[in-house]
Amino acid sequence: MPIAESEVRWVKAPTLGLLDRLYIPAIIEGLGTTIKHIFQPPVTQQFPEERPDLPANYRGLHRLNRDTEGRVKCVACYMCSTACPAHCIDIVAAPAPAEWKDREKYPEMFVIDELRCIYCGMCEQACPCDAIELTSMFDLTGLTREEMMFDKEKLLSVFDQTAGTEKDPIRTKAGALSCASEPAK
Amino acid sequence: MPDFEPILLRRINAGASPALDAYRADGGYRALTKALTEMTPAQVVDVVKNSGLRGRGGAGFPCGVKWTFLPPNHPGPIYLCVNADESEPCTFNNRILMDKDPHQVLEGILLACYATKASVAYIYIRYEYGTAYRSMQKAIDEAYGANLLGKNILGKEFSLDVYLHRGAGAYICGEETGLIESLEGKRGWPRIKPPFPAVEGAFRKPTVVNNIETLACVTHVVNRGADWFKTIGIPPDPKNPRDAGSYGSKLYCISGHVNKPCCVELPLGISVRELVDKHGGGVWKNRKAKGCIPGGISMGLMTEAEFDTPLDFNGPGKVGCLGLGTAAVTIFDDTTSIVDVLYNICRFFAHESCGQCTPCREGTGWMMKMLDRIRQGHGRMEDLDILDEVAKSIGIMPGTTICGLADGAGWPVKNAIAKFRPELEGYIRGGQKTSMSLAVVH
């Protein structure tokens, strides 16, 4: 859609005066700013010793949530892998075990290639049952590529690690944060 | 009209025997003899057409006109389906006719078949009418014995077989195409029209479907002539060109909160108030009436203020009801909760919807669920608007379903919301609980 001429605002380059044209004062001012900063206390967090405080919407490692009965919440609808721009989610669906009365389908295999992932959070947005979420875990390393392919068990174990820490609440479809399947505290 | 001399109920009120001999002794089968000896089938059709006899089953379609829809010179066979599946709640006039004076009905059937050249008549009788079934069966057997049925009836070129076909408790089989489907051994899903049954009905052959009471009337129309028939009832409203008039008498069923529930025969056009006060013995327990159902539950609701409406084929329509229906008046007194009445009605339709068309199948169930919730005190104000809209969209918006059940299901709800809204709102606001005990099973 073309932008209407009325909505275009033209901005002129500022005209520089003598002082500006001499540049020396501007440079001195700039140096002043930088020098001032030298004497300010550093903000560095010493990472391995100090853990950073991440915002609640930080997008780190994925987890697969469990429902109240401890089963994987995912229903293998492939919405996440459809939404994934990096094509890093690989799901194989299967009929749910007969004893799961409320479910017809479940993921037999659920693998996220954490190396391919760009941590955009689309999968989380796409998930209709709040099963996949990005946690605040960011320090993710591995020695091999295979190690970075997170399968269902590994992703569920991420849930086990992060559930109950209050750092990574379940983000429900409504956008609210809840503790739907978190273990009772 | 002081002391109307009953026609259809004449013998019944007199306590006469239903047997063939007694019927003949009272002048029975004269009309048949007359028709077979003096009249051609076309003449019979003309008489009925001229009489302005309208179907008593609910829709009020002129009976003679219906017969003329049959394809002329059809090689046959042509069938007559007699609709004795009187499932409209609060209605029982056909049962009385069949129970107590089966030959009157049978004569009507014979006449109709003669007029329409039908060779087989199936009486689709609802299962609940066990005594009527047996009574009719006995009458048929007697008729076969007296050569009133079978080959060459009364020695004339007219043969007819009449079979009783018992239903199995489905309201929708009272709809003519539903009845035909059911007769054919399928589920009673009404058929799409066109083709109309007169062109392609039972077993893909031309078929006439008539109500018991209509056929009983035919007997007397043929017997006494169209002009006599036109002296009874109400002539057409000259201002309304589409009005075919309401001639003849009608069996009015009075039930509910009256002292004397009964079935009376009166000329068309009597008012509810007169029915209740004069024939029903007044509202019971000296209470005041709150309203009534003018003609079976699918016709809608009337308030007490509207009781002066004449019950003819046009009257109920003037106060927002669907029509005369079966002229079965059910009164409820002022202690009755309208929510209970509505719930009862919606439960009935949800139970009886055939499930073919989406709006009716889902809509009736939804209305029942909503009303159940309202009854239990969990209603919301917007439920009334939703109810009103659902009622309108399943039924009143014409054509959204194949048959008229949806219209019937929607109409009482629409009426109730229009006429009793303050009470409904009060009920919801007050979180009242119902006075009637809850049904255990939906």
Binding site: C77 | H351, G355, P359, G365, T400
Partner: protein, 561 residues
Amino acid sequence: MAVVLINDKPVDIGNERLNLVQAAAKAGVFIPHYCWHPALSVVASCRMCLVEVGDKKPDGTVAMQPRVVPACQTPAKDGTVCITNSEKAKFSQARTLEGLLLNHPLDCPVCDKAGECMLQDYSYRFGKAQSRMIDPKNRPANKPDIGEHLSLFTDRCIMCSRCVRFTREISGSAELQVINRGHHSEIDIFPGDPVNNPLAGNVVDLCPVGALANKEFLYKQRVWFLKSQKSVCAGCSTGCSIHIDHNKDIVYRIRPRENPQAQGYFICDEGRFDFPYINGKERFDRPLVKPAGERSEPAESAVAWETALPDIRDVLKKSASALAAVVSPMLTVEEAYLFAKLIKGFSPQATLYLGWVPNVGKDESFPRDRKGNPVGPVQFTIRAEKCPNRRGVEEVLKHFQGEVLGFDRLIADISSPLPTGGEGAGVRRRPQALYLTAGYPPRLGAWLNDEQTKTLSTIPLLIVQDLAPTPITQTARYVLPAATFAEKDGCFVNHANLAQQIRWAVRPGTMGRTDGQIFLSLLGRRGLIQATKIRQELAAEIPFFAPLAVGDLGEFGVKLG
């Protein structure tokens, strides 16, 4: 000439007997519908296609009916006026959809139909997002075993009754039924009578929602990942038009494609479910060669195409005068043509035989009554001849050698004391070299009996082109991989001389080549095979195939002969 006004747009429907849904489609207006299907009877029960209808009188006035009517039930006549976008019509459609969704579980995420579901699509186009019902939904139990291939998700059903009508009107087996009534109606089978008729799979396609599911496909892929290719079933000589749904070189599903010239709307389960062999692991994907002179040794070694093909060409050339070739009816017309050209190019004395024509049982036509006898007008036929292109190959053979020699003749010729050498046109010789093409799906079983195999293995030079290892490939000197119908371009000629185009959907393995490509390379022509070009070439050369000169045969194919 009937002219119908659809949303004020006149459309000429000629003398066709159409209903308003079809007439509107001609005008480019889509009227949503569930229960109506062109191949099934009209019940007008879903009430999705409600429109306003009227009549245009000769004097130009329009009389609209007060009612909205189902378009599927209303015949289009001259002067019929149909309005689909009025407030009234839209209101009816929206309310119907609301009704349909009342008791629908809305489990699209786990529903296999999601993505091609008419309920989804119509809700999006004609419905609204929010349900006003807060009461509990009816949740009838699922029936996962209503057929060998079928699973019924009862709660998703919208009671369009298409499936029931299909079993009663098309297959005639009437296994499906509606039980109960009102909002408790469900689709069901009679206990103990699963839907196992040979056309059962079609109910899955007919189901507009995800209620009936194909167990073979259930949960395998989401449909939006699938790519669809228009092709033709190679299961029998009916030549049903199909869609091959595939993803990443795996065929996941075969669906019928409407083709009034071939089979109509449906396909049989045999064609529908017999595709896993295409994805088979055991298939050849490169040439295998046995060292010359060590014929008893089964050890073959895979070789590159670049070395195998010139080798084969050389050995064929050497035995040109006593060369026989078997042209499989599984080949496309183009391939048969190239093959015949190749063989006849070595020597005019080389003999071409028609490959084995599998005949299994008798033609089965539908609908059938309870006892299995065909009744009424035939709606669908499964043919006994289980190959797609006998007619096409026969015509090619007729062109190249004037007569069609069957496979039995080959066996006879090998065993009989025909001369092994010498000159003279028209004299058949005992074959010393045989190039055998096969490519029959494994469903047909071992197509050569032991004796035939033995007879064939007496030939000194045997080249076999087949899908997967069989006894005859064991004895062959050269084994070339064949391709399935899902992997090649070309056309098949069905039993009624209808030439239909098949198009490749998946690739024949990482190293594989299609039969046509092999013949093309053996012919010494360069480049990749272009079926359209070959088709035009043969259309110019063989009069029978002249109509194929159009190149692209379109969706429905071209009638020959």
